[in-house]
Symmetry: C2
Subunit: 448 residues, 2 copies
């Protein structure tokens, strides 16, 4: 019988961050990570192995952080848990006792329940090195690729698979536009323009109803009757929380079908915490169930869970979605609620927009336009969301917006925010997008 | 007699932003800007006209914002004001009545009180096109340039003047290191390394005691007795608030020798507001007088002043210094207090640092290391400051730190902050510098 004070199941963004956080907060406690993967992929980097970084071996998370933080590692699959005896049992026959357990098993890609989905060369975005290598090999021999789902995973896959290859890539999206669950319409349209300019076909609104082919996929049949040739297909339609183990030991699930956790990331078992894609989530704004699954949220929850193991220290205030993507050379990002989401939640909203070069004067190297769009509640003036589009510096500007949202700042607070600017790094202080977008929202409020 | 509801004196970062803000908040009020310059330079861009952007004409602020916002423009110098009659008088003979007046006259470069400072080819960083063109012409004919002052202006001038020129550039700095009033030692040293690698000489701690030469400067004599050949010299030793006009009409000055303003940017005359370099400033932290002069702060104060003209709406909470610079290809930035400043103000501090690539995996294009260092008060855990060094994406990350400071966030709030990450835009969620620097500060607190 092996023994560890803290056992962490899972080695991706949530598991690794939780283990490190535990070591930092409770240096006297021993931590053992149990994961089934020999090598762990950087999850957000997966689309890029098909283009920019060339291969899964270029997207591996180093285990150096484990050694540096004295975190033990057992590569094995957890097959069962005895919550009363506080024992983790692996399929390799190991038994490990724990004081506190962190479940960070992640999620599994969703599979479309349609005929032919089990044909050869129909893939999902699995986080497994050999599987992804097989995808890459198949891609290199394919002339026609169909991607099902135009969310950010689908768009990133399409963009990368299309790079430096003589291939015909098509995205099939159910909604009228790609990325519609993430961004306001004009950002979706702008992203689609970039995708189309790169030669990628978009079919939207459209559905794949079946994959055809003799053993191997040869085409995708669409609801409209169209038939797209396809010697490879990738499903990017979302992921479901990995809860098999949790259900097996009787942990409660939450309304978003993840492992139920309280605001301290504790499950229905006092000694078991959960974080990341496998944990249930709720909105920062109205507490409603949230299906969002992002490595950044996983890491955030892991920082909460890891710090709370032996005493509640940090509260999970719920998901403030903050994420970004790059299409072509253009960054797109959202923090908080999009305009549509805010309206759906019942807010009376007002928006403000500002666009400016990310350098000043424009002749400074690396100049690109960057647009910021902010959404406020009209009565209180509280910021609800922000979107960025354009220059890559917007990726970090988005985190300033996130801070404004998380702190419930008012439109005047944002407008008179103490920003730092520099010719080679940002817009000018006069044209700075964040403050000006807030001013434009006030102008809109006044004329409303 | 001309008439405007609002008259703004000055057309740089403060004046222009105040005028625009007034138009946005009070669309029914007419606004007239009076400035003496035919063309206004982008202030932060001035060092770059000597290298990257090649010439003052590439660093001009467009007047398009005036037209777009229906702001009148009078190019003339204000020679007097009648505060009782609410009349502005110009040296061109114009008289303009106002309801509210905004003073945004900026600052003037300081001149060293040493022998020979009035010799030909000894320059300051004046914001005048013809003066700067003369500097550039002189620079192009110079073999030896001495820069007095190793603050960020001095370092930026040195770096730019040294670009694509066969010239010997030297910085003479009073303090032991360049940039010491801005950053912690290790950032100063790192910046100096970049400067030296570019072939620039640094003399520190050292003082220029006289300029020698027959009419024209030919050398700078140092306190140590050294004599540096110099056919050109630039003084970058700071600036003083432009208060001549304010003193003439009896406005009170503040402890930092700027025009005294209350928290709404109102001067001792109820109908006159001041903002930017000419206005007095105080620290966000302890309210002590602040001599900091930055275009970003000027614009922030202008957004407060402009919105408050006909009813107090925004409060100036004092200066949270947020600024950044680029030396070579490396960004350096500060938000709030450096470690030394925090200690000087009497705080018991703890610091946390984290460094990581600004991309994940590392093979993504544009990868560079970015370090974040945070300073917290040890008893309350409240964030006091942050510094960034490395990748240019740090310029906007600094604004996320600024938000944390302005909102008085605790070390746990920062550690569990909802960040957005993306392979092509930021560090990985696990290694993200801001959250990890906070965790390292907690670790340091625990072992303190």
């Amino acid at each position: 019988m092996r023994k560890a004070d803290v056992v962490v199941i899972g080695g991706s963004a949530a598991g690794l961050t939780a283990a490190i956080t535990c070591r930092r907060h409770y240096p006297q406690k021993s931590v053992l990570m149990i994961r089934k993967e020999e090598q762990v992929l950087i999850p957000c980097g997966i689309p890029y192995i098909f283009g920019t970084v060339a291969g899964p071996q270029k997207d591996i998370m180093s285990d150096a952080a484990l050694e540096k933080n004295s975190i033990g590692l057992l590569i094995d699959e957890v097959s069962d848990i005895d919550p009363q005896g506080r024992v983790v049992i692996t399929s390799g026959g190991e038994k490990v006792t724990y004081e506190k357990l962190i479940m960070a098993m992640g999620s599994d890609p969703m599979v479309l329940p349609i005929p032919g989905v089990d044909k050869k060369n129909v893939f999902t975005a699995k986080k497994e090195v050999t599987y992804l290598q097989k995808m890459l090999d198949t891609l290199d021999q394919s002339a026609n690729l169909v991607i099902v789902g135009g969310g950010f995973i689908g768009v990133e896959f399409a963009d990368e698979c299309n790079k430096n290859r003589d291939i015909n890539v098509s995205i099939v999206e159910m909604l009228p536009h790609c990325l519609m669950l993430a961004f306001d319409d004009e950002l979706c349209t702008a992203a689609e323009e970039v995708v189309k300019t790169a030669g990628i076909n978009i079919f939207a609104p459209e559905k794949v109803v079946a994959f055809e082919g003799d053993g191997k996929v040869s085409s995708a049949r669409l609801e409209s009757g169209k038939e797209l040739p396809a010697d490879m297909a990738i499903l990017g339609i979302g992921a479901v929380a990995s809860t098999t183990l949790a259900k097996k030991i009787g942990l409660e699930l939450g309304p978003a079908r993840g492992i139920k956790v309280n605001r301290y990331m504790r499950t229905s078992d006092d000694n078991i915490f959960a974080c990341g894609d496998c944990a249930d989530k709720w909105s920062f704004f109205d507490g409603s169930p949230s299906n969002i699954k992002l490595a950044s949220i996983a890491a955030q929850e892991a920082r909460i869970a890891g710090a709370n193991l032996f005493g509640a220290r940090r509260m999970n205030k719920g998901v403030v979605t903050v994420f970004s993507t790059v299409v072509g050379d253009k960054a797109f990002g959202l923090a908080g609620l999009s305009t549509l989401e805010a309206i759906k939640k019942g807010y009376n909203v007002v928006v403000g927009e500002a666009e400016a070069p990310n350098r000043h004067p424009g002749g400074m190297g690396g100049m690109a336009l960057l647009k910021v769009k902010l959404v406020f509640e009209i009565g209180t003036g509280v910021i609800l969301g922000g979107q960025i589009m354009g220059a890559k510096s917007g990726g970090e500007l988005l985190n300033a917006i996130s801070a404004c949202i998380q702190q419930g700042m008012s439109v005047d607070d944002v407008a008179a925010f103490p920003v730092g600017t520099h010719p080679a790094l940002t817009a000018s202080p006069i044209a700075y997008q964040l403050t000006n977008a807030a001013e434009m929202a006030i102008k809109a409020m006044k004329s409303a």
